[in-house]
Amino acid sequence: MLQIDHLTTADAKVTLDDVSFVFEAGKIYTILGRTGAGKTELLRALMGLNPLTVGTVKLDEEDITERPIRARNMSLVYQQFINYPHLSVLDNVAFPLRRQGKDKAEAHALAGQMLTTVGLGEFLQRRPAQLSGGQQQRVALARAMVKQSRILMLDEPLANLDYKLREQLREEFPRLVADNVESVILYTTTEPREAMELGNTMIVMHDGRVIASGAPADLFAHPPTKDTASVISDPPISFISGFVRDNCLYFSEGHLAPSEGLLLPADGPVTIALRPDAIEPDGAFNAQIGLSEFSGSQTIIHLDFDFGRAIMMVDGIEAFTAGNDISVSIRSEHIMLFAPDGGNITLRNNQNG
């Protein structure tokens, strides 16, 4: 078990602000946040690479805050595929084992097994520079995993790979780390899909703070704050100013918003959040198409309403011409409401939001 209490840093590009959490062994924690949210900073602080101004790091109840980096029993895979250029692939992976005191033969045997697991059994004697980007990152992953350290940290490990390789490694990742049952695995990413797909628990970071955590599906369905909803939504969720009056929901320009099934709060201002799938073609709301883009097998259309901008997503590749008018409907079951302080105040009939 890894426990962090009130981690705060000062001397870094992004500072951590009172981060506390308890990580359990055998689980994969995905840390989701935008660039600059403090994900890398958190990993570096855990590793001892960046000094803490306040806070403690405990591993199995033992305080390791002041322990040297080399003695922390942690592994880190960087976003940039960092390997030792002067060593062969086999020696790269054997390097941490040799530092643990294992003899060369044993270290090479274990490194060879690990490299076979990550699919690089044929490239043992090559130098990292002779491998493709995906293969280089596998070497880095193998070197981190072969140590069997208690904490395995992966800092956006797929970010520098092309789309296909990213998909491939993302699929393989659970198999690759399956043997690390004693380890806490921390995986940072900026991609909500990746975070939800890979993590047992998802942690959302924003401005150097943990703003939400929980099961990925729950967090996606019921983000506790506006910031959380914003971070975990891809394509982006749209926020539109509105208000409640006489148990009716209005967009800011006085347009009545759909609210069937919603238990509306008392009269006052609210932020209405529209997920891309909350808007569908054909309906009572008129908008102008601002931009149309394809994402895989879906089309994302940016719409300009009288009351604000929102994003609609439709299945299939469809041509929407920018500048044209379109009528759409808004499905109330995909609407969320946030209070002016950012808290989620969505309540539905027979169900808490």
Partner: protein, 281 residues
């Protein structure tokens, strides 16, 4: 267009090569001439233009009025240059690593100021340093000794090593050090096991500069020695008398250039900057 460019490039490089090599060929032919061949106008091809003579070469290994024995100065030069270069490279590399990886602050003095301080040692004209060096060596009883020259040369070569290696280490990502530490190395272990093996090109360049500047120095070798110790550049000058022995001077010049040329040919392949590829992407 490409072909024209290629042709022009080839012609330029050919012309430049001739420009560089010609002085060596000239010195080589001159070293095999005697006084008559020297004064009889421009001649280049032995046995055709002039009758070759080994006088220029044999006089370098003869003591007395017939020439000067250069074996002693050659060994002195080699010892002083190699020891001073090695010590400068070791100290300079360690200092450069510290300057590139750790932040020092003493009042208003920061890393960049310390680096500039090292470089500033080379900005000063040698004459400014000569008198203090002379007085210091005199106090130490190290005037006209190899030990004294080694001390002075270390002071002169250290800034070069620090300068070159600081620049080189700045190009190596810090994440490589961090990776080594997460893999179980101490900070010193990370330097010796990971950074140093990947710094061969920088070490070669710094080492070459140290060897060149140390081997070719005339001024300090001249001002800080008298009779006991004599380095090669000073010996060359001592060959000059009322009649300039161009044949011996040419042979001497070739011998003094030879070690550096050999070292350059051997280490040239290490000087490419390609070894960091694969470290970080």
């Amino acid at each position: 267009m490409n072909k024209v460019y290629h042709t022009l490039k080839t012609i330029f490089l050919l012309g430049w090569s001739i420009f560089v090599v010609f002085p060596f060929l000239w010195a080589l032919t001159t070293s095999f001439k005697d006084a008559n061949a020297i004064t009889s106008g421009a001649t280049y091809i032995p046995w055709v233009d002039f009758e070759p003579s080994s006088q220029g070469w044999t006089s370098l290994f003869t003591t007395g009025s017939q020439g000067i024995n250069i074996i002693g100065p050659f060994i002195d030069s080699a010892v002083v240059t190699l020891i001073a270069s090695l010590v400068s490279l070791i100290l300079g590399t360690l200092a450069a690593y510290g300057l590139s990886r750790f932040e020092y602050r003493l009042g208003f003095v920061k890393n960049s100021d310390i680096t500039f301080f090292f470089i500033s040692q080379r900005i000063m004209p040698p004459i400014v340093l000569a008198i203090p060096f002379f007085l210091m060596l005199k106090e130490l009883g190290a005037l006209d000794t190899i030990f004294g020259l080694v001390l002075v040369y270390i002071a002169l070569l250290l800034p070069i090593a620090v300068w070159v290696m600081t620049d080189f280490f700045s190009g190596i990502p810090k994440e490589l050090d961090e990776m080594a530490m997460t893999d179980g190395c101490s900070p010193i272990g990370a330097f010796f096991r990971v950074i140093l093996p990947n710094s061969v090109p920088g070490l070669v360049v710094a080492g070459m500069f140290c060897l060149i500047f140390g081997w070719n120095d005339f001024f300090f070798a001249f001002t800080l020695t008298f009779t006991e110790t004599q380095l090669l550049p000073v010996s060359i000058v001592s060959l000059n008398s009322s009649v300039t022995p161009w044949w011996s001077l040419s042979a001497f010049a070739l011998i003094s250039v030879a070690p550096l040329a050999c070292v350059a040919v051997i280490v040239e392949r290490y000087m490419s900057r390609g070894t960091m590829s694969g470290a970080i992407r």
